[in-house]
């Protein structure tokens, strides 16, 4: 199989919860990502237990976030460790870190020093609030970043006595890592012309702030505040429900409502097929809406009551059908009629869906030391010439010490000595 689009790019990643997803993204795209960890890790963080029938969260996290990387141990607070780290970085294209005040700078390995060694180096420093804000030396979590950065305000329920909700799955970290990779690519493309690297400052709080869609632009452009609603966009004035509990108790989202004559015709036909047109009290409005040649003029929604009524009737009609149909049937039936609806799957249900399976989204990853193979989520992006790929399961702690340090010219006996000194 051909290599990924970032083949030939070497990344040194100083292990951190903030940066690990950025490393994975680049590694699965073909970069040679070397994960540098301190040697004294608790075992659950570094490998699975072959005998356990329950693999603990620390191991699951390691397996997911470190695919395709090589792993070394290095205690770089010790002088010989520091010198090895400096050599590794000297030969790298990218250095990825969660920056701390007591980190590389304090050890004399700040960007100024490292870029003198290696002018092509692209150094990526992820921090909670940007490298110049003193608060970046505080510890944060996904929850506090998403709460302070805007996303949490927008998620939750119509009932505001219930707290706003954090979207699950470490998305605060993910968003920062997306920007870390995007900006690394900008710097790689720029370096093709200038021959020089640069220092990238990734601000997690800012990443969350600009990933809130209408929350930000409604304030910026209108000085209005959106309010959270159950299962749909937060809004200034309140909107109709779009998340419907189907006949089988499962949920669907009814998506963008009908707005062209053909779409109104289609929803009316569906009601008739299901013998529901008589029961639905807004059928006469749908019948008016199918006369709307050219579609509803959405820019007049605010001023035109009849447009609002027709849009509302279309939405209500889809919701009416959903309440009387099993969720999967509503999803496929509405989509076949051209409506952008969806079933609300749990993550594992999405993973087992026939469409994703047919596209090969499930990939098998071998864990040879366990004698087992597990299914992993596959490619987020389909490159036709340079495929995304999990080349290997996450490294065991220090698994690639011999290989990586041999590339720096170290011998077996050097490695043994460094292990004895607690450097590896």
């Amino acid at each position: 199989m051909s290599a990924g689009p970032l083949a030939g790019v070497r990344v040194i990643e100083l292990a951190s919860v903030e940066s690990s997803f950025a490393g994975k993204l680049m590694a699965d795209l073909g970069a040679d990502v070397i994960l540098v960890e301190p040697p004294d890790q608790p075992p659950a963080d570094s490998e699975g237990n072959a005998d356990a029938d329950h693999v603990p969260p620390a191991t699951l996290k390691r397996w997911h976030y470190h695919t395709s990387k090589r792993g070394v141990t290095l205690e770089w607070s010790l002088p010989s460790g520091k010198s090895l780290l400096r050599q590794l970085i000297g030969g790298a294209d990218v250095l990825l870190e969660r920056k701390w005040r007591w980190g590389l700078d304090a050890k004399g390995l700040g960007y100024a020093v490292l870029s003198r060694d290696n002018p092509r180096l692209i150094m990526v420093s992820i921090t909670p609030f940007g490298q110049n804000d003193p608060r970046s030396n505080e510890t944060v979590t996904d929850l506090t970043i998403l709460a302070g950065g805007g996303p949490v305000w927008m998620n939750g329920y119509d009932d505001h006595s219930l707290p706003p909700v954090r979207g699950g799955g470490n998305q605060g970290y993910h968003t920062a890592c997306h920007f870390a990779v995007m900006s690394t690519l900008v710097a790689l493309l720029a370096r093709e012309r200038t021959g020089r690297g640069q220092h990238i400052d990734v601000n997690m709080h800012a990443c969350a702030n600009v990933t809130t869609e209408s929350g930000s632009y409604t304030w910026l452009g209108m000085r209005e505040t959106v309010q959270r609603q159950t299962g749909r966009h937060a809004s200034v004035h309140g909107t109709q429900p779009t998340q419907i509990r189907c006949a089988d108790g499962r949920y669907v989202v009814s998506g963008v409502p009908p707005r062209t004559a053909a779409q109104f015709r289609s929803v009316l036909d569906w009601l008739r097929e299901l013998n529901l047109a008589e029961q639905f009290d807004q059928t006469p409005i749908l019948e008016l809406a199918i006369e709307e040649t050219g579609g509803l003029k959405l820019d007049r929604v605010a001023s035109d009551e009849s447009i609002r009524a027709k849009l509302g009737a279309g939405r209500e009609a889809l919701n009416f059908i959903a309440e009387r149909t099993p969720a999967m049937e509503f999803f496929t039936g509405a989509q076949r009629r051209g409506f952008q609806v969806s079933i609300v799957y749990s993550p594992e249900e999405a993973f087992e869906d026939p469409h994703l399976k047919a596209r090969g989204f499930q990939v098998e990853v071998e864990h040879p030391e366990l004698g087992k193979t597990f299914r992993y989520p596959g490619a987020p992006i389909r490159f036709t010439k340079t495929p995304w790929q999990i080349r290997r399961r996450a490294p065991l702690l220090g698994e690639d010490n011999a290989e990586v340090f041999a590339e720096l010219g170290l011998t077996e006996s050097d490695l043994a000595r460094l292990r004895g000194e607690g450097v590896l």
Binding site: A147, G148, A302, P347, R359
Partner: protein, 419 residues
């Protein structure tokens, strides 16, 4: 670098059919770093290709095709032309533009570019090393390839909506199109990674992106819990996404939640990662000593988490969210008030110092503040100064300066309705 034009990507030209946010957000990022992004729009139906031109909010509540705040936000620093592809001269102009472009980008439903006559094979004839990126909900293969999506339906399908919520409640989901933003981020990654490969190989390619797949990868550890341990997320008591399941630090943080604060609809997020965090939390919240026996160990706090959260909520509602968050952070306890848009945009020293909300000049709307970029590059930073293009605003300049058409030719195209 303050006065120099952004140079990182200024050698790149993107022939851009993207719209809404899921596509437009990708080329928005590259435009801020200097790429010449030329958005192609259909003149015949007043922006039919981008619903955001027709949807509010509109500046000063005055509707108009060039007045949308959201369209402006997602298209700053891009150029805009109109091409009516039913006209032969417009198709010829598009071919000429593709021939001098590095990238063709779109987020139509699957198959639309093919029907327009500009599928990948045709693009490659025009420009052999073109990078072509298609971005749609379900991709170009598979049983649902004809299905259509927007942000919320991608979130629903992938499991993201499901896993945002509280127990015994319907899914809370996302109050915004997280996957339109994030789909755009992956689209930008895809374009730039393919360009990097082209730099080294001379080879272009087609990248087929399905946002439902992007979204499904964002649940990685929970999916492994299912495939490795056989434990699904659809199980009693779940989801409970204000709590921590141990998949962030490798062990459970407890207490970990969003608690009420003083005032109407004010909230504070608090997470205890260590034993001493818990003790400082009790100290700051003046939780009476001795602490009840059931809360004395982390195992006990996990077992009685509902009662624990109730105890904490009783205390937090007596405090102002911001002051309490500061008091907790002074004790190294992770905490943050749940910020309103106004607070994080107009009263946040960090976002202000960062320059996160630049003002872009729009031809019709004047100055409008927009989302900036959350990264700074030391040598080739971004810049956002120009607002989105009005419909067809750059027709003369692109057809003239980029394609070398003379005024007569452009005038003739305009006359036949090609622009």
């Amino acid at each position: 670098m303050a006065d120099a034009a952004p140079s990182a990507l200024s050698h790149l030209r993107i022939c851009d059919f993207t719209g809404q946010l899921a596509g437009a957000g990708a080329t928005r990022f590259m435009a801020a770093f200097g790429a010449q992004v030329i958005r192609i729009e259909d003149p015949t139906n007043q922006g039919r290709w981008d619903i955001l031109r027709q949807m509010g909010p509109f500046k000063d509540h005055q509707p108009g095709i060039d007045r949308s705040i959201s369209f402006n936000n997602h298209n700053v620093e891009k150029l805009g032309i109109t091409l009516n592809l039913r006209a032969a001269s417009a198709r010829r102009a598009l071919e000429d533009l593709i021939a001098v472009s590095d990238v063709v980008s779109e987020n139509f439903a699957a198959g639309v570019m093919e029907r327009l006559g500009f599928g990948y094979e045709r693009l490659r004839q025009i420009r052999p090393d073109i990078v072509y990126i298609s971005n749609c909900g379900f991709g170009h293969t598979g049983p649902y390839k004809q299905y259509k999506t927007w942000g919320p339906s991608v979130q629903a399908f992938s499991g993201l909506t499901f896993q945002s919520g509280l127990p015994d409640q319907p899914p809370a989901g996302w109050g915004y199109s997280y996957m339109d933003h994030t789909g755009a981020y992956y689209m930008a990654i895809a374009i730039m990674a393919a360009l990097y490969h082209r730099e080294h190989s001379g080879e272009g390619q087609w990248v087929d992106m399905a946002t439902t797949e992007v979204a499904a990868t964002l649940n990685g550890p929970a999916l492994l819990d299912y495939t490795v341990n056989g434990r699904p997320l659809r199980r009693p008591g779940m989801p409970n996404s204000n709590r921590d399941q141990g998949l962030e630090l490798g062990y459970r943080m407890v207490p970990h939640g969003i608690y009420p604060a003083k005032g109407e609809d004010r909230w504070i997020a608090i997470a205890c990662a260590h034993e001493f965090d818990w003790h400082f939390l009790c100290l700051v919240l003046k939780i009476p000593r001795p602490i009840e026996e059931r809360f004395q160990t982390v195992e006990g706090r996990i077992e009685h988490e509902d009662e624990l959260d109730a105890l904490i909520a009783d205390r937090t509602r007596q405090y102002d969210a911001s002051s309490l968050a500061i008091a907790l952070r002074e004790r190294s306890v992770r905490a943050s008030a749940v910020a309103l848009p106004e607070e994080r945009i107009d009263h946040d020293a960090n976002t202000a110092a960062w320059g996160l909300w630049p003002e872009a000049q729009h031809t019709e709307l004047g100055g409008v503040r927009v989302d900036g970029q959350p990264v700074h590059l030391s040598e080739t930073d971004w810049r956002i100064e120009r607002g989105a293009a009005c419909l067809g605003e750059h027709n003369d300049c692109i057809l003239g300066d980029v394609l070398g058409y003379d005024l007569d030719r452009i005038g003739a195209m305009r006359e036949e309705g090609a622009l």
